[in-house]
């Protein structure tokens, strides 16, 4: 009990030094938490993916289209419940900095495949009725202040020209991980326009989305679809939605690795800061530790005093960092909503933060503690006065 009391009192003896170390640790935890949140936001699409959805694309590359004529064959494949299709449109709203994902989709089947996108029935009916209509995710509509009935013009990049759309509905995610930043419009509008301006590009889709009746049979269904189109002009490659998204993520793997490395570097830096604090603290108190040993306290008491003090400092820093992470993440969420549909602090990040407090506190104080334990009492007492 007296050791615990001394740990707590010792931790705040040098208020400025302890305060600065706690602050530095809190900032490191904040940086670590945000970097971890960026990584988890990166994988949000994978988490939100459904095991019962498959994506069919051109076997050569995603940029090559598939004929619309595959649709009927795919939807009649054994094990398929629903099939839909679409194109990455790549339109720009006013300027490129306003990036958001926009797709031309077959609306009825697409919405059936994505029950996590909740759209009021009347809005859905309007969307299905008007080929120039589009629906937007709640966050996207909020970002640009769009309201139902607004006309929105996208400048085509893959499909040239100015494309006017009217907002017919705003969907909400059924779960927190659902992407509420999508811009979805009717594929018929794209195809009809292409028939006029670029007939050779009409009748083609970028991908098919396939709902399977039994997720356990996904691999069989995928194999059957790919077999069906083997040796055709446009062979297919079918994979689960999660694998499809992971394919995109792996393109940015280097960035994720850099973020991971930076996270570790942040921890190593703060480890040296805390280690320096503990080395100074231990050097100052070596006489006191010698006195305690003289009175009969053992090396383990000394060890507990030093490691305990470091753990108090890192724990307070960690808690402060965790508290700061939430508002900081909320700020980042607003600023990065175009890139990360969700930017929520994962509970595992908090567990990591607390683990880092224990790890850094123990590691930073280990060597000073061992030195203090090993010092001869007579040598320690000579440091006093």
């Amino acid at each position: 009990m007296i050791i615990l009391k001394m740990i707590l009192k010792n931790a705040f003896r040098r208020k400025v030094r302890t305060g600065l170390t706690v602050l530095a640790f809190a900032i490191a935890i904040l940086a670590f938490g945000l970097l971890r949140t960026v990584i988890s936001a990166w994988y949000t699409g994978v988490e939100a993916s459904s095991a019962s959805r498959l994506v069919v694309r051109n076997a050569v590359s995603l940029i090559f289209p598939l004929p619309l004529s595959y649709y009927d064959k795919i939807r009649h494949t054994d094990g398929v419940s629903t099939a839909s299709y679409g194109n990455w449109f790549g339109g720009v709203y006013i300027s490129e900095k306003n990036f958001f994902a926009n797709y031309a989709v077959q609306p009825n089947t697409y919405l059936k495949l994505y029950p996590e996108f909740v759209l009021p029935e009347d809005q859905k009916d309007d969307f299905l009725r008007d080929r120039r209509g589009f629906v937007a995710g709640r966050k996207l509509a909020e970002r640009f202040g769009w309201e139902i009935g607004d006309i929105v013009t996208l400048k085509g990049t893959i499909f040239p020209g100015s494309w006017d759309f009217q907002l017919k509905g705003i969907y909400q995610g059924r779960t927190g991980s659902a992407d509420e930043t999508l811009f979805l419009f009717n594929w018929e509008y794209l195809d009809e326009t292409l028939k006029q301006i670029a007939p050779s590009r009409s009748g083609q889709v970028g991908f098919y989305l396939v709902g399977v009746q039994d997720p356990n049979r996904s691999a069989d269904v995928a194999r059957e679809i790919d077999t069906m189109f083997r040796n055709s002009l446009a062979e297919t490659f079918t994979e689960t939605e999660a694998a499809f998204i992971m394919g995109f993520i792996s393109m940015g793997q280097a960035i994720i690795q850099v973020i991971n490395i930076v996270s570790i570097v942040v921890i190593v830096i703060i480890l040296t800061v805390v280690a320096n604090t503990m080395a100074m603290t231990t050097r100052e108190r070596i006489g006191e530790y010698a006195v305690l040993k003289t009175l009969g306290y053992t090396g383990s008491h000394t060890f507990a005093l030093i490691v305990g003090e470091a753990l108090v400092i890192t724990s307070i820093g960690s808690i402060l960092g965790i508290v700061l992470t939430y508002p900081a993440a909320a700020g980042f969420k607003q600023g990065l909503s175009a890139f990360f549909p969700t930017f929520n602090v994962d509970p595992s990040t908090i567990v990591y933060d607390l683990g880092i407090a224990v790890l850094v506190g123990s590691a930073a104080s280990f060597i000073p503690a061992i030195q203090a334990v090993r010092i001869r009492i007579a040598d320690g007492l000579r440091r006093i006065g």
């Binding site: 006191e288 006195v291 003289t294 009175l295 009969g296 053992t298 007579a378 006093i384 006065g385």
Partner: protein, 227 residues
């Protein structure tokens, strides 16, 4: 045959310090006894080995050769853990610079050695209050060391030294950092402890006035006692 009245028996003790390749002898073949209830002062110039001898008797340093028996326990054969336990129950320490723990109150400083015993909180409080009463500091028990004068701090240190009722009290220059008045108070107190409680006190000092309070003065020079 050793006399049963001796509380400390030192036999052929030698101790060297190593400074790199250099071996510096500090104590050479010291043999002497300290009687139970003795108040002994050890004097000598700086570097004569008096503090080293005190540290060896108190079990906070290790000798090279020889043996030291305190109340029939050969402390040179004890392990570090055993020695720590022995120190906590058998030796009371009084240092030149008081060596109180700054973050603890006077009461908590005196209580420190008692946390290593099996005493209950109530028993510890009784012991601490008795020790503080002995040094006339009960009214300042809740003060931190920084709120006490040097003389008061040394009296708290004495209370801490006696609170476990140790076999011997060792004092290393106990008045070395005090003004004349405070030094006299501390020496009065040590005399009382020796006279009324029959405590064996071994004191190292440069100060002839302090040494004059002891029953016996021994002079150490270049690691050997001189007649």
């Amino acid at each position: 045959m050793e006399s049963p009245s001796n509380i400390v028996e030192i036999r052929r003790v030698s101790k060297c310090y190593h400074r790199g390749d250099l071996v510096v002898p500090v104590l050479t073949d010291i043999t002497f006894d300290i009687a139970r209830g003795e108040f002994l002062a050890i004097m000598g110039p700086s570097g004569s080995g008096k503090s080293t001898l005190l540290n060896l008797m108190a079990g906070i340093d290790r000798l090279d050769t020889g043996s030291i028996l305190v109340d029939d326990t050969d402390i040179t054969t004890l392990s570090e853990t055993e020695l720590a336990s022995w120190r906590s129950s058998s030796v009371g320490f009084i240092f030149q610079f008081y060596n109180l723990i700054p973050v603890l109150t006077a009461f908590e400083n005196v209580e420190l050695p008692l946390h290593l015993t099996g005493l209950s909180k109530k028993e510890r409080r009784e012991h601490v209050e008795a020790a503080l009463r002995m040094v006339s500091l009960t009214e300042r028990m809740d003060h931190s060391p920084s709120q006490l004068s040097g003389g008061e701090q040394q009296r708290v240190a004495i209370a801490r030294a006696i609170v476990t009722d140790p076999l011997i009290l060792v004092a290393d220059e106990p008045t070395g950092d005090l003004d004349r008045k405070s030094a006299a108070d501390v020496l009065d107190l040590m005399e009382r402890l020796n006279r009324e409680l029959n405590k064996t006190i071994i004191m190292v000092t440069h100060d002839p006035h302090a040494a004059g309070r002891a029953h016996l003065i021994r002079h150490l020079e270049k690691g050997e006692f001189i007649p």
